[in-house]
Symmetry: C2
Subunit: 684 residues, 2 copies
C-alpha cells in the first residue's frame, strides 16, 4: 500500500521510468543492428540452398547460372536497401509499409499491404523455425528425424515465452546475431584462405554425389523460366529488410541518419554473407536436389526416402571447418538460434501491426491498447496456431514453406516503394529550394526503380510459384483483406449511427428523474451496501427494493428480516408463477417506463467479486443474465455494486501481477511519445 503514496505525482508526470523497461532507452547502432536485422541476416541460412535446389532440376550443369542469380539478388538487395534508406529519412517516426501505403496510395493499398504482412508474419515463424531445425539437425541428427515435432515444440515454446512476457534486452539479440554473422564471415574468410592461399581442396559431404536432372538440357523459354524460379526462391534472402524502417523511433539521435547507416550495414553484411556462401558452395561442390530421395545419386544409387539433405551453410561449414569440429557445431548452433530469434520477432510484430490496424478500425478496437496483455495474448496464440498448422501441413519442410513466403514480402515492397514515389511527387509539387528538389528527384528515382524492380519480382514470383504453394498465401491475404474490410464497414456504420448531431449536447428526451431499484434476495452485507449506495441517489428519484417471489418461504423470511433490520426503503415483491427471475423484473421495469416515460430506471445489482474461475459458475449468473436482458430495455441503466469476497484477494493479486507484465518486443518499438501534463477541459 505504500506504493499508493505517489499516486498524485504519477498521475501528473506519468509513471516513473523503470530501469528494467528497456523499451524506454534508445538503442545505439551496435545494438539496433542485431535487434532489427536478425530476420534478414538469418535468411542467408536458407536462401542459397533454394537457388541450387531449383537449378538442379536442369542438372548440375545448370549450377553455373547460380552466380548470375546471386548477382541479380545482390542487385535487388542493394535496390531495396537504397529504397528503404529514403523511407527512413522521409518517415522518422517509423514508416511501416502499411503507413506509407495508406498515406500515399489510399486505404485499399494500405489494407493490401497489411494483409500481406499478416500472412508474412505467420510464414516468418514457420520458415525460420523449420530452417532452424534443419540447421540444428546438421549437428544433431535426432532433431531432423523428428522435424515436425521439434518445430512444433519450438513454436509452442516461443508462444509461451511471449505469453509470459519476456523482458527482451539488446544483449539477447546481440549475442546470437553477432555470433552468427561472425561465424559466417570467419567461414568465408578461412575458406578463402584455405582455397586461395593454402591451396587446399575443400569438399562438401555431397561433393561426390550425382544428380539426375529431371529436365536435362533445358533451353530457351523453359530455361529462362527455371532461372526465374531459382531467382525468386533466392529472394527469400530479402525477407525482413523493412524491419529497420519500422523501428526508427528506437534509434539514438540523429535517428534517421543512424537508422539509414544501420540499414546499409545490414545490406553490406547480408550481401557479403550471401555471396560468400554461394562461392564456397560452388567451390566445395555442394549438391542440392529438389527431390533428394530419387534424384540424388550416392554411388550411382538414389539416396532414398531416409536421406536428409543438410542446408548449404552446414555443408560449407563441414567442408571449411571439418565435420564435427568446434567451429562447425558452433556455427550450426548460432544459425539455429538466430533463426529462432527471427521467428520470435514475428511474435511481437504481429500484435503490434494488429494494434495499428485496430487503431484504424480494421481490427477489433480493443487490440489498440498497446502493451495490453490480453490484446497481445490473442495475437500471440493466433500466430502460433497458424504457424503450427502450416508447419504440420508442410512437414516442417522449409523448402516447401518458402514457396508461400515471398509473395507477401514483395507485395509490401511494391506498395511501400510506390507510396514513396507518390510522397516525393507531393513534396516536389510544393518544394522550391533547388538543393532539396535535387535530393528529392534522386530519392524519387531510387524509389521508382525499387518499385519497378519489386513489381517485376512479384510477377516472377507469382508466375513461377503460384501452383507450388503461393496460391495459399494469396488466399490468406484475400481472407485477411475481406475480414478487415468487413470490420471497418461495421465500425463505420455504428459510428454513423451514434454520431452526435451538431450542437447536440444532450439527448432529445432527457430523463426528468430516476427510479432507483435495488435487487434484493436476502438481507446480507452485499444487499445492505447496494441499498446504502442507492439511497445516496435518493434526490434523483424514488428508491425501491425489488425481490422476486420464487419461493414463498424464502420471501416470507426476507420480509421479516426487512422489518427486523428496520430498513427505510420500501420492499416490493414480484410474483413469479413460473419461478423465473428475469421476466417479472423486466415486466416491472417496462411498466414503470410506461407509467412515466420521461423517467429513467436505474437497477442496482449486488455483485460478488470472486477469486477463482469456478466460483464464477457459482455466483452472479442470474444477475448477469438479468443484466443482459435489462440492457435491451430502453431507458434503463444497470449498476453493479460489488462485494469483494475474501477469495477475491487471490484474483486481485493476480490482476496486479498481470498489470505489471511487459509486452514482448518493447525494445524494438522504442518509447512512446513523451508523457504530457494532464489537461482538464474547461467548464462552460
Amino acid at each position: 500500500m505504500s506504493k499508493l503514496t505517489d499516486v498524485p505525482k504519477r498521475i501528473l508526470i506519468g509513471r516513473a521510468l523503470r530501469s528494467d523497461r528497456l523499451g524506454e532507452t534508445l538503442l545505439p547502432k551496435r545494438i539496433a543492428l542485431p535487434v532489427f536485422a536478425s530476420d534478414p541476416l538469418s535468411s542467408v541460412a536458407y536462401a542459397p540452398g533454394e537457388v541450387l535446389l531449383v537449378l538442379s532440376v536442369a542438372g548440375v550443369s545448370a549450377y553455373h547460372y547460380s552466380l548470375w542469380i546471386t548477382l541479380a539478388i545482390v542487385a535487388l538487395m542493394v535496390t531495396v536497401v537504397a529504397s528503404y534508406r529514403q523511407t527512413v529519412h522521409a518517415y522518422p517516426n517509423g514508416g511501416g509499409a502499411y503507413e506509407v501505403a495508406t498515406v500515399n496510395l489510399g486505404r485499399r493499398a494500405g489494407l493490401s499491404v497489411a494483409s500481406a504482412l499478416l500472412v508474412d508474419y505467420v510464414l516468418t515463424v514457420a520458415v525460420s523455425v523449420a530452417s532452424g531445425v534443419e540447421n540444428l539437425g546438421s549437428a544433431m541428427p535426432w532433431a531432423v528425424q523428428h522435424k515436425v515435432l521439434v518445430a512444433l515444440v519450438i513454436i509452442a515454446l516461443l508462444m509461451l515465452m511471449n505469453l509470459r512476457g519476456v523482458k527482451e534486452s539488446g544483449t539477447l539479440f546481440a549475442i546470437p546475431t553477432y555470433a552468427f554473422v561472425g561465424g559466417v564471415l570467419l567461414m568465408v574468410a578461412w575458406g578463402g584462405v584455405r582455397g586461395l592461399v593454402l591451396g587446399h581442396t575443400m569438399r562438401a559431404p555431397t561433393a561426390d554425389y550425382k544428380i539426375t536432372a529431371e529436365h536435362a538440357g533445358l533451353a530457351g523459354l523453359a530455361l529462362v523460366f527455371l532461372l526465374l524460379r531459382a531467382f525468386s526462391s533466392g529472394c527469400a534472402a530479402l525477407t525482413g529488410v523493412e524491419a529497420i524502417s519500422n523501428g526508427v523511433p528506437a534509434f539514438r539521435k540523429p535517428k534517421s541518419k543512424n537508422a539509414a547507416a544501420t540499414l546499409s550495414l545490414m545490406g553490406v553484411l547480408a550481401v557479403a554473407m550471401f555471396v560468400g556462401i554461394m562461392i564456397l558452395a560452388m567451390t566445395t561442390k555442394v549438391k542440392m536436389a529438389e527431390n533428394p530421395a530419387t534424384d540424388l545419386l550416392i554411388n550411382g544409387k538414389p539416396a532414398g526416402a531416409d536421406y536428409n539433405q543438410d542446408p548449404v551453410i552446414a555443408q560449407v561449414a563441414d567442408a571449411v571447418f571439418g565435420h564435427g569440429s568446434f567451429l562447425f557445431v558452433f556455427l550450426a548452433a548460432a544459425t539455429a538460434l538466430v533463426l529462432f530469434l527471427a521467428a520470435n520477432t514475428a511474435y511481437n510484430g504481429f500484435p503490434v501491426l494488429g494494434s495499428i490496424l485496430a487503431q484504424d478500425r480494421f481490427l477489433p478496437r480493443q487490440l489498440h491498447t498497446r502493451g495490453d496483455r490480453l490484446a497481445f495474448s490473442n495475437g500471440i496464440v493466433l500466430l502460433a496456431l497458424l504457424a503450427g498448422a502450416l508447419v504440420y501441413a508442410f512437414g516442417a519442410d522449409s523448402t516447401k514453406l518458402i514457396q508461400l513466403y515471398i509473395v507477401g514480402v514483395f507485395v509490401s515492397f511494391t506498395f511501400s516503394q510506390g507510396g514513396m514515389v507518390k510522397h516525393w511527387n507531393r513534396h516536389l509539387a510544393t518544394e522550391t529550394d533547388k538543393t532539396a528538389r535535387r535530393k528529392m528527384h534522386r530519392a524519387r528515382f531510387i524509389n521508382a526503380f525499387g518499385m519497378v524492380f519489386s513489381i517485376l519480382v512479384l510477377i516472377i514470383v507469382l508466375l513461377t510459384k503460384f501452383t507450388h504453394g503461393a496460391w495459399l498465401a494469396v488466399l490468406g491475404m484475400v481472407g485477411w483483406y475481406t475480414v478487415m474490410t468487413f470490420i471497418r464497414r461495421h465500425y463505420d456504420r455504428v459510428s454513423e449511427e451514434i454520431a452526435a448531431e451538431e450542437g447536440e449536447a444532450d439527448e432529445a428526451v432527457r430523463p426528468s428523474r430516476v427510479h432507483n431499484l435495488v435487487l434484493v434476495s436476502k438481507v446480507h452485507k452485499p444487499t445492505l451496501r447496494a441499498l446504502s449506495y442507492a439511497k445516496l441517489m435518493r434526490s434523483s428519484g424514488p428508491v425501491e427494493a425489488l425481490s422476486v417471489n420464487v419461493d414463498p418461504v424464502e420471501t416470507k423470511a426476507l420480509q421479516q428480516e426487512w422489518e427486523r433490520h428496520g430498513i427505510d426503503v420500501p420492499l416490493k415483491v414480484l410474483d413469479s408463477p413460473y419461478r423465473e427471475i428475469t421476466r417479472p423484473i423486466i415486466d416491472y421495469v417496462r411498466s414503470l417506463r410506461k407509467e412515466s416515460p420521461r423517467d429513467a430506471v436505474s437497477v442496482y445489482i449486488p455483485e460478488y467479486v470472486v477469486g477463482h474461475w469456478y466460483e464464477h459458475l457459482l455466483h452472479n449468473q442470474s444477475a448477469l443474465r438479468l443484466k443482459g436482458r435489462l440492457l435491451f430495455t430502453p431507458g434503463v441503466m444497470v449498476t453493479s455494486v460489488p462485494w469483494q469476497l475474501d477469495s477475491s484477494e487471490v484474483a486481485r493479486r493476480r490482476a496486479r501481477k498481470r498489470a505489471e507484465w511487459n509486452a514482448p518486443g518493447s525494445v524494438r518499438r522504442g518509447p512512446v511519445a513523451q508523457p504530457k501534463k494532464e489537461k482538464a477541459g474547461g467548464r462552460k
Copy 2:
C-alpha cells in the same frame, strides 16, 4: 407492442394461462399412467432377457429357475409399489426420494440419493436407447448393424428436441405407451389361446439352438450366486417406479388417492407383462446366451461374431404373431418408441432434480430457476454427453449397460423407504388417534419391509455386479457427492462471510457522497446519454467526465468537440504513457478514494448493445476489462449505460422468443403453487 398493454394486470395476477401450456392442467389417471409409467413399463422389454442370459451360464437346464426368479421379482415389485403408495399418501406435494431422505434421514442421506439419481438418469438414457435400437433391429436389421451410430443419433435427436423445447402433451405419451401395453397384453393373451386352446406349438427363432454352458452342472454356493446375479439383472424391471411419487401434484383431486391408484395399476400391468413374457419365453423355448458368438450353437456350430441376438420380447412376438407379420412389426415399433420415450423422461428429470439441488445449494444457484432455458440447456447437453459417452464406450450393448444401472435405483429405494420408516416413527410419537395409529403402524411395516428388501437387493447387486461394471456407477455417485459437498461448503462459507449482523441496517462506514465519473472516448450519442444520466445524480456529489489520452490527436479532437457541444461537465484527461486504458483509471479512482475515504465512486460506462455474437468481439471489450478491474477496487460501483445499436433488435427478438420457450416435461411436473397477489413491504 400491443402485448404490453396488459402488463400491470399480468403483474398483479400472474401471466394468463395459455392453452398450449399443458403443464397447467391437471392430469386424469388415464393420461397420468402413460406420462409417468413409460419408463417402468418399458423395462419389461429388456429385463426378461437379462434373466435368461445370466442363467444360460449354467446351461439351458438352469432356465427352469427363471420362474422362481420371476416370482422373486414380482414380490419385489409388489413390495416397492406398496411402499411408494405410502409415500404418495404421506407426501401429497410430491415426495421424491431426495426430499424424503433429506427430511427424515438428514443431509448426507439426501445427497447420497441425489448422487444415485443423477447417475441413474444418465443410465436411463443409455439403457433405454440401446434397448430401443435392439428392438428396432428385430424388425429392421440395419438398425442393429449400426447400433452405436443409431443410438448416438437418437440421443442427439432427443437432446435437440429438448433443447428446442418440445411442447409435451399427454397424447404424446399415451399413444405409444398404450400401444406397447396393448400389444404386449394381446401377445400374451393370443399366445395363451394358441397354446392352451388351439394347441399350437409356437417356437421362437432360437428354439432349436443349443447353448454350451460356461459352467455346466453348477451347484451349491456357485449356483446360488448365479441365481442371485440373474435376479439382480431382472430387477432392471423396477427402474422408474418412483416417478409417480414425484408427480403427485400433477394429478387431479383427490391427488394422493388418484396417484396411489395409478401406481397400483402400473404395478399390475408391469407384473402381468413381465410374467406373461417370461412364461411365453419358456413355452417357445427362447435361447439367450451371455456370449452368443461362442456359446450359442446353431446346428452345432458357434453363432460367430456376426450373430445378433434379438430381445426376448421380439423372439416371443415372432413365435406368437409370426415373423414379419403386421403385429410383429407393430410391437417392435411400439417397443422402440416407448423405450425412446423412457429415455426422454430422463431429459427433463435431470434438470428438474438439478433445480431442486440448486435450491438446496448443492449445485450452482442459477440452476434453481425453474423453466429457465439456460439452466435446462446445460443439464440437457450434459446428460446427452454423458449418456453418449457411455453408449459409445459400451458399444450400445444394453446388457453391458444394465450392469451399471441397478445400483443407483436401489440406493434411492433404500434411502427412500428408510426415510418413510423414520417419517412414521415421528408421526407415531405424537399421533393419539387409534385408527390413525393403526394405519401408521401398517404403513411403517410396509415401508420397513420395503427397506429391508431393498437393502438386500442392493447388497446382492453390489456383490454380483461390482466387477461387471457396477463399480463405475459407484464411482460416478462418489464423484457427484464430492462435487456437491464442495459446492455446498462454498456457499455456506460465503453466506457466513456476508451475513448481516443483528440490527445492522447499514454498513459501518456509510458513504457520505458519490463521486460520479463518466468514461468518455468520443462525443457521440452513447456518451451523451451516459452524461445526461450521470447529471441526474448531481445532487449525490460531483459529476466529472474522464478520458484516457492514448492518442494525443484523438484527445485534442475530443476536447474541441467538448467545447463545441458546450457540455457543462468538466472533462478530465488522464495521461497514459503506455497506451493503457485500465491502469490510469484505476489509479485515478484510488487517488479519489484516498483523498476522501468516505466518498463512494460511481463509474458510468457507455455500453453498446449488439445483436450478433461476433459484434461482441468488436465492442465493449475494453469496457468489460475495465469493469472487471474496477470491481476489485473497494468503494466503487459501476453503472452500464446501454446504447442499443440497430442490430440489437435481432437479439431482442431472439431473447423474447427464448423467454416464451417451454421447459420440456412441464406436463409431468404439474403447475406450481398458485400465483399470489404481490406484496409490498411496509415502509418504516
